[in-house]
Symmetry: C2
Subunit: 166 residues, 2 copies
DNA sequence: CGCTGATAGTTAACCTGTTAATTACCATCC
DNA sequence: GGATGGTAATTAACAGGTTAACTATCAGCG
């Protein structure tokens, strides 16, 4: 870190006013993460929209699919919420909508009456078969444009950063 | 794409089911960005909460402050929306609330009746003076824990990624 | 001048994010 | 076995994200 400011007593007039903006919004980590996420999602959103699901619904279905298709992969709602980064109240609302649309199946857990077990329904599986390849294609193109190494490096940094959660 | 599966007819039972989950949610860029952002914000949220502003309101006030304090920094709503990464409809709602609370000032632009000009109000400036140092402290500590080089590297990658917006 | 198209905001409708309060169920301990 | 506390899910209430439709203003152009 070199001394970029030759004379600190003479502030650079090109900078508007730093006294009350400790870090320009441009350089702030939260904003940069938000912008980057927005940029990435802008590639996926139209495709998901075309298939009638939003981002969060797609996350829920994918999480359930990763646990195994159909009855094989049953997860309780809390686990789904954690893996899909969705808060419990949001998930409760989504479960209702997704169940009505026949994309997932909701069942009460035998043994623990509090737990709600979720799994992918046939229609959800059909949706997965439709969307997954298209999503993979978009992701691959994005990865190719950005560079595989940089994607890997970015994921590593993001993971490390996530570990600092308060 | 190399042939990782020695015998494709006999799928690895340790893997749940990769056929419909093209990329594990753990490794997906959007999810990683979401988690990282959540982790970072978890450090700031309690502080903002204590001062009675949420994340988005704080972004708006900061953007206006960066344009210069009080009357000096007048930005039209569209520009604020872009810089704060907030959509126009959200900003419209927020302007009303922030104006009522006396944190910002809304004025119609002479010369172009369509434009809404925004600037920081005295109460907003007071809030900035209160919050900014605390925010800087939190940010510095976070940066120190994560490592300045890594923060810089991350910001660089995020910026490059944001440039790929569709 | 009036028509046309573009631009800036607003409104509406629906969904999710967020916090707090509530309900239902489980587990423990006296 | 009943009171106690904890956990899983739901509900409520409010705010922002998102898209589409709408209004108001500006800019050209015939």
């Amino acid at each position: 870190m070199s001394q970029n400011q030759p004379d600190p007593t003479k502030p650079d007039p090109t900078k508007p006013d730093d006294r009350f903006a400790p870090r320009a919004t441009k350089a702030a980590l939260p904003m940069a993460l938000l912008r980057a996420r927005e940029a990435v999602m802008s590639h996926f959103r139209p495709m998901l929209e075309r298939h009638g699901v939003n981002e969060q619904q797609w996350r829920v279905i994918r999480v359930l699919a990763e646990a195994g298709e159909l009855g094989a992969g049953r997860l309780d709602a809390s686990e789904v919420a954690v893996r899909a980064n969705i808060l419990a109240p949001s998930l409760t609302r989504m479960i209702k909508a997704l169940t009505i649309r026949g994309l997932i199946v909701k069942a009460r857990d035998e043994g623990d009456g509090r737990r709600v077990m979720l799994s992918v329904a046939p229609a959800g599986l059909a949706l997965l078969r439709e969307v997954a390849p298209e999503q993979a294609r978009i992701y691959d193109e994005l990865e190719a444009r950005f560079g595989r190494n940089r994607v890997a490096a970015l994921l590593k940094l993001l993971d490390a950063l996530s570990a600092l959660k308060a």
